[in-house]
């Protein structure tokens, strides 16, 4: 079981995740239509690229936009959550060992203390994201079951991972649970809202091009995000 999950199982879930995302990305671009979207995507490449890059960069920068600054608490949750969910899977020492074993390569490592902090950060911010969903009427009205499922899928590998890390309970059971939840997450990515891992960049670039090419990007300094 363990061998299957860390061998073919892992490859399969990573494959589904990456290929799935690739397909979604290709479909996204293919579905763009200059006339229906009313954006001359290819006619003004310079303005388009500038608009796209600005639209992505300002939104990735912590407190880089008016919207983030207007909601500092939410911004804090968002960044704490996302730094963890992105860095831990890629840079945790234990994960790197698997990579080293399989591909013979490894890159930057997280030291254990930092990794602990980031993981706790994910769990704590997830709890607050959950509470926020329940407590704030403007978020509650938007929330569907899908949102809870996605949030749960996203934090499950972190909860199980920390249980292994602190060796609470049956080691091999929790290790299996960790691997399974991680692989479930990977598989879910292309089929759920988690596809935003890629589509966030697509969507932001698209709106950036819209403003950059059509809605004023070529008149003066461009939009203040």
């Amino acid at each position: 079981m363990y061998n299957f999950l860390t061998g073919p199982g892992l490859c399969l879930s990573i494959g589904i995740c990456l290929i799935g995302l690739l397909v979604r990305g290709v479909w996204y671009v293919k579905g763009l239509n200059w006339q229906l979207d009313r954006v001359a995507y290819t006619a003004h490449p310079k303005a388009g690229i500038k608009g796209a890059v600005r639209s992505i960069v300002f939104w990735i920068l912590p407190f880089g936009t008016r919207s983030w600054r207007a909601q500092p608490f939410m911004a804090l949750l968002f960044y704490t959550f996302h730094i963890g969910v992105i860095c831990i899977p890629l840079f945790l020492e234990a994960h790197q060992m698997i990579l080293q074993e399989k591909l013979g390569l490894s890159f930057a490592l997280l030291n254990q203390n930092l990794a602990d902090i980031l993981s706790w950060g994910v769990i704590i911010s997830a709890v607050f994201l959950l509470l926020r969903r329940i407590a704030l009427p403007e978020v509650r009205i938007l929330t569907t079951k899908h949102d809870y499922v996605v949030l749960f899928l996203s934090v499950a590998p972190f909860i199980t991972g920390l249980i292994c890390r602190y060796e609470l309970g049956n080691d091999s059971f929790w290790l299996l649970a960790h691997i399974i939840s991680g692989e479930m997450l990977l598989i879910a990515v292309p089929f759920t809202k988690l596809s935003h891992i890629l589509l966030f960049f697509m969507s932001r670039a698209q709106l950036g091009m819209d403003f950059g090419i059509k809605r004023g990007g070529m008149k003066g300094k461009g939009l203040t995000w």
Binding site: H44, R66, S67, S203, R215, G220
Partner: protein, 462 residues
């Protein structure tokens, strides 16, 4: 009843149809019929499959349901943070639901969608600036309006407006003759004060071709005179087209894309015919959006640009002041607390945010200008955008929607509001009418007329 005699899926294409609909005061019978017309779900779903592609599909799908867009919408704020006014909720419960049900929605649903698309959103696109995923609900509401229009669920005034564009190439029953005659008449009226004032009609190769809003012709002819006088004083080589002079598009507010295309192609044809160096449009926001920003796409122009470079009136004024073509008499500069309305349609949606402030620098005595907060790209809609100003059945919602702007203006302490946009101008007039906050409001032209210096050679010989 599948279709009504007044309320149906057919656009207005004949004078009779237009007259009949107009004679139905306030759309009484029209809305009565709307209560029982049928939804053609097949048509709805077919249209969606043809026109609803990755950008909007992705928007609806990846929406994180995070609610960050809530506070960005002025409707949400003035309705005591009613969750039903959150942009993401409004679009998910209307357009999103139509997609989920594959077009199988009923009459009642369409009523709700109509109210959502026209009375709970002015397509100001502000929410698009506040969503982390770059989801622009204004764009989607505009799309939804198109679906609703196709099914006959469109406010009475906008059905008429779109019909006017189809029949007159103008938002009102103003013919080409009316336009030319009115412009000429206005020039005659002012010739005594401005010797040599004339209206160049259909001059080929002029530096500027001027286009207007039909209601200036019908209700505010002085606006035409003022434009003529300012071009005259600035020594511009300008002209008006005898046809293709209407820049506005109520068809855009109605979601009648076919009429949008017809309307804008008519203006472009005038550009092709007269080959001016540039086009300048009057002080109207949605007209600029329709003819300069969105129009090229309706007309299928791949570079997304009109046939000749096209300016909003404020761009021309700023340039004329900068280059000294127009000179302000320093003693006549405004010495009254004044604020400025940033129109969504050419500020947030066309980047003209600094240019209006440049103009302020010339015409207002330092210390008298106070900006609203927020302003520029982030300014709030006047409350009457997207056609809401003119929709009778949603008057109550519109009047409430004015509150945001009212409070923004009150906070500046200004007694004069500069509104270089017909829609904003109306909304601000109605703020005073409804709430009596003690303000005056003005276009740029009428302020400039009183302030510009008359060059020696154009002066009246007394």
């Amino acid at each position: 009843m599948p279709e009504g005699t007044l309320c149906n899926k057919n656009p207005i294409q004949t004078q009779e149809a237009l007259k009949t609909l107009l004679s139905d005061t306030r759309g009484k019978k029209y809305y009565e019929e709307m209560k029982s017309i049928e939804v053609d779900s097949r048509l709805l779903w077919d249209t969606i499959n043809k026109t609803f592609h990755s950008r909007m599909r992705t928007w609806l799908e990846i929406c994180a349901h995070c609610g960050l867009c809530a506070d960005s919408c002025f409707f949400y704020r003035i309705h005591n943070r009613d969750p039903k006014q959150v942009p993401a909720y409004k679009i998910q419960s209307s357009l999103g639901e139509i997609i989920r049900r594959k077009g199988n929605v009923d009459n009642k649903f369409m009523w709700m969608a109509m109210e959502t698309a026209w009375a709970k959103c002015t397509c100001c696109n502000r929410c698009g600036l506040y969503c982390p995923h770059g989801i622009d609900m204004g764009v989607m509401f505009s799309y939804l309006r198109g679906l609703l229009y196709q099914q006959g669920f469109v406010p009475w005034e906008l059905k008429i407006g779109a019909g006017m564009h189809r029949l007159y190439h103008a938002q009102m029953d103003v013919t080409d003759e009316d336009f030319v005659e009115t412009f000429k008449w206005m020039a005659e009226e002012y010739q005594e004060d401005y010797p040599g004032l004339s209206i160049p009609i259909d001059n080929v190769g002029a530096d500027i071709m001027y286009t207007v809003n039909a209601r200036e012709v019908k209700h505010y002819p002085e606006a035409l005179a003022e434009a003529a006088i300012l071009f005259h004083l600035a020594g511009e080589n300008w002209t008006i087209p005898s046809s293709g002079w209407e820049q506005t598009s109520l068809a855009m507010f109605a979601g009648d894309w076919e009429a949008c295309k017809m309307q804008v192609e008519h203006v472009y044809a005038a550009m092709e015919r007269l080959r001016p160096k540039r086009m300048v449009g009057t002080e109207c926001g949605h007209a600029h959006r329709a003819t300069v920003v969105e129009g090229p796409y309706w007309a299928g122009r791949k570079d997304g640009k009109p046939p000749v470079e096209s300016l909003h009136y404020v761009e021309w004024v700023a340039e004329a002041l900068r280059t000294g073509k127009l000179k302000i008499d320093p003693s006549k500069r405004i010495k009254e607390r004044i604020t400025l309305q940033d129109s969504c349609n050419y500020v947030r949606n066309h980047g003209l945010k600094e240019i209006t402030r440049e103009i302020i620098g010339y015409i207002v005595e330092p210390g008298y200008f106070v900006d609203m907060a927020p302003n520029r790209d982030h300014n709030y809609c006047c409350g009457g955008g997207g056609g809401l100003n003119g929709i009778g059945i949603f008057r109550e919602q519109r009047n409430k929607a004015l509150i945001t702007k009212r409070d923004q203006i009150i906070k500046t302490g200004a007694t004069l509001v500069l509104a270089p946009c017909h829609n904003c101008w109306d909304a601000i007039r109605d703020i005073e009418k409804e709430y009596r906050i003690g303000i005056r409001w003005s276009f740029l032209k009428s302020l400039l007329i009183d302030m510009v210096e008359i060059p020696e050679h154009l002066k009246l010989n007394e």
